[in-house]
Symmetry: C2
Subunit: 192 residues, 2 copies
């Protein structure tokens, strides 16, 4: 029991990992813990639109743990171009450390979920990635492009980075976003 | 698709509902969105200790949505003594409004999960309640009793309020907490 308690208290740190987007109506930046919660509900709401048949429960478990590596490695915006291999290695070391706080029979399934998400090969992982990429786009579309503007991200860069994973995991969501992004381009809410 | 998007953006507001406890190491108060994320992982980690056999996936779904009524009603500390019926009615109206933003085939299962949690009659709901009551206790035990002190909550009041639901849903967790609470009483980290 003490191992589980130590693990859950270690997860406190994810509440202090900040992302680049601000929650609608709030001044502060979003943190990775509340982001993970929202992704789990978005996935549950979108399950019927997945590209192929999925086990939604595994998707939800995956989304709950997918950002835990940021506890040691921090959050990196999806538009940063270099250094992904180093960051992935740092996140892997982090999740090995953190899930390693649990007895093997519990830590290993969590690690397996994190790795499945990271590899993005299963239908569940692809759907989870689609949801993860779509959520900050939805926020920016309703936030006057706040994190795109603050970080100098162009329309082309958004589409290039988010279209392939969203299309691969949840095509109907991409059809919706494609139109909204085009409207946003005409309104001029991008950063470059 | 637009209904799902409107729903998920409405959930943004839960990131702005603050609770009485502060995340370890942070000055600000915890919000109900990040709290829901942490409960889902705590439940997954503790599943084997549930009082009876449970469907952990339903528990996780339940915990993800259990606080959504606070979007209209706000968070109320579990130690507040009166007015629970009014608050429950306000939360029920809120979840009917918010889950009602979705097509019925999606909104109704969410509402059913919320009601199941609220009624606390199934093994899954009892386990979810145990986890929900235990998490702020774990934080206070590691935070020098911060929210107990700030709100004048005594050792006796904590035990009276949290022992029955935690014992009912997760007896092994209560055995652990009972000892930690006794140690905390001797250290004098309560508020009255």
């Amino acid at each position: 029991m003490q191992e589980i308690v130590d693990f859950i208290l270690e997860l406190e740190k994810l509440k202090g990992v900040t992302r680049k987007v601000r929650p609608l109506g709030l001044e502060r930046y979003e943190n990775s813990a509340e982001h993970s919660w929202q992704l789990a509900i978005l996935a549950a709401s979108l399950a019927r639109y997945a590209e192929s048949e999925i086990d939604i429960n595994r998707v939800i478990h995956m989304l709950l743990v997918h950002d835990i590596g940021e506890i040691d490695a921090g959050d990196t915006m999806v538009f940063v171009e270099g250094g992904w291999e180093e960051r992935k290695a740092a996140e892997l070391a982090a999740v090995r450390r953190i899930f390693g706080m649990l007895p093997d029979s519990q830590g290993e399934p969590f690690l397996a979920l994190w790795l499945e998400f990271d590899r993005a090969e299963t239908a569940e992982a692809r759907f989870a990635h689609a949801v993860d990429r779509a959520m900050p786009v939805l926020l920016n579309l309703n936030n006057n492009g706040q994190s795109w503007r603050e970080n100098g991200i162009s329309y082309e860069r958004v589409v290039r980075r988010v279209a392939p994973p969203i299309k691969a995991g949840c095509p109907a969501l991409w059809s919706y976003l494609e139109q909204r992004l085009e409207e946003a381009r005409l309104k001029g809410i991008f950063g470059a």
